[in-house]
Symmetry: none
Subunit: 247 residues, 2 copies
């Protein structure tokens, strides 16, 4: 049973930083770490060295080749990053994110296992727009105008700290129902594949160079509904219904 | 005029850690650093190296030989440490500490300059009982039972983060923007009309008596994204594109 959000590190560079994240996780009650394409390979002795009491998190970390595989069974994902201009994605504070997440994961009456991911990009470049698009929300950490740049170790400490505070308090009502019902991401990925095929065939994206941004916007708006598995099936049925008539 | 608490580092060992504290300070709007008896002397190039945008805090840091001199002009001090057994000292959470400090420093009507210090001990041994005794309160940071040990960089990030939140009363940024952008309902009604027409014509609702609930569910899930006017236009274009192909 999942009782805490997972951490997904996408293309982390320094082993030391992976270790620092693991340490912060164990300091604040986060347990499961997924790593996508770590730059220096895996296992990484420097990660273990920096983990300081969190070696078990490093040992148990799961490694993925690409982001979509790491996200396949995730129901709700929060990207920790600045919102790119022109991307219409819900932005929440760390506090609000944890207020949403904590009750959904800890309430005993929920019907099935729910997986929530907190997603961090690489030290240098953060997350790519494609990756942010696949997340449901963006978490923003307030910083002073003097120095807006937080590193991975710092961000993970703040995220973990707010998680521990919130999960310890609980009783917070929030958006619980939306989080509980949202389908695993792989369901949305399947929907995207189907829709993209239809749109390509019907020449919806008039020019090839406009497609990336148009397609990104479309995925963003479809993800925002946090649809359940049943709802995704329904929508795919709608698309199919419109499409089939063309045969 | 002091408008933020000072940080006092007592006998810090590694220059890297001093730099990390300075970085966290500048990230979260803390400006004045005092250092008591740094182990490796002063200035320390490694502190500058780790400061990453907070070099000015390192450069302006004041160095003291002993703790009492560093504390001389301080009005209120909070020790960041575990409470020693048999010491009867008030213990507060980071949050509560900042709730106490922020109004005192920012209210314009206070009569004289007030100096508040947040005091950190050395990496290895923390603060001595004598030093804790000179502080007014102890700040405690919640941690998981799995790993209670926080390092200087981590603690300073949390302290700074709570300071910034409290001083800016940052509460909830977020959802507001989504609400503002959401289109007038008539736009969604137009979309519904168009979609219903297509679905009727393609015989999506197999039986007339199932239609009401199916259609209601579909509208619910589409509304949940709180789409903007532009997004609704986009989606209508998608529907049209799929549909037109059937002509």
């Amino acid at each position: 049973m999942t009782t805490a959000p997972l951490i997904i590190l996408v293309r982390p560079q320094m082993g030391e930083n992976i270790g620092a994240v693991a340490r912060a996780m164990s300091n604040f009650g986060l347990e499961e770490l997924r790593i996508v394409a770590p730059r220096d390979g895996w296992p990484n002795p420097k990660a273990v060295e920096m983990a300081a009491g969190a070696e078990y998190i490093i040992t148990d970390a799961k490694i993925y080749d690409d982001f979509t595989s790491a996200m396949a069974d995730i129901n709700i994902a929060y990207a920790t990053t600045a919102r790119p201009r022109d991307m219409n994605k819900r932005v929440v504070s760390v506090e609000v994110a944890m207020q949403e997440i904590a009750p959904s994961l800890t309430l005993p009456q929920r019907e099935r296992e729910l997986k929530v991911a907190l997603v961090f990009g690489s030290e240098r470049a953060g997350l790519e727009n494609d990756e942010i698009t696949l997340c449901d929300n963006i978490i923003t950490i307030p910083t002073s105008e003097n120095n807006r740049s937080l590193n991975l170790a710092q961000s993970s400490v703040i995220i973990g700290y707010e998680w521990l505070k919130m999960s310890a308090e609980l009783g917070v009502p929030s958006a619980e129902k939306n989080l509980q019902q949202s389908a695993p991401k792989s369901d949305m990925f399947g929907l995207f594949e189907q829709l993209e095929e239809y749109l390509d065939k019907s020449e919806y994206f008039r020019t090839e160079n406009k497609k990336p941004i148009m397609w990104q916007n479309l995925k963003n708006m479809l993800l925002r509904g946090a649809w359940s598995e049943q709802e995704i099936r329904t929508f795919r049925g709608v698309l199919r219904s419109l499409w089939e008539r063309s045969k």
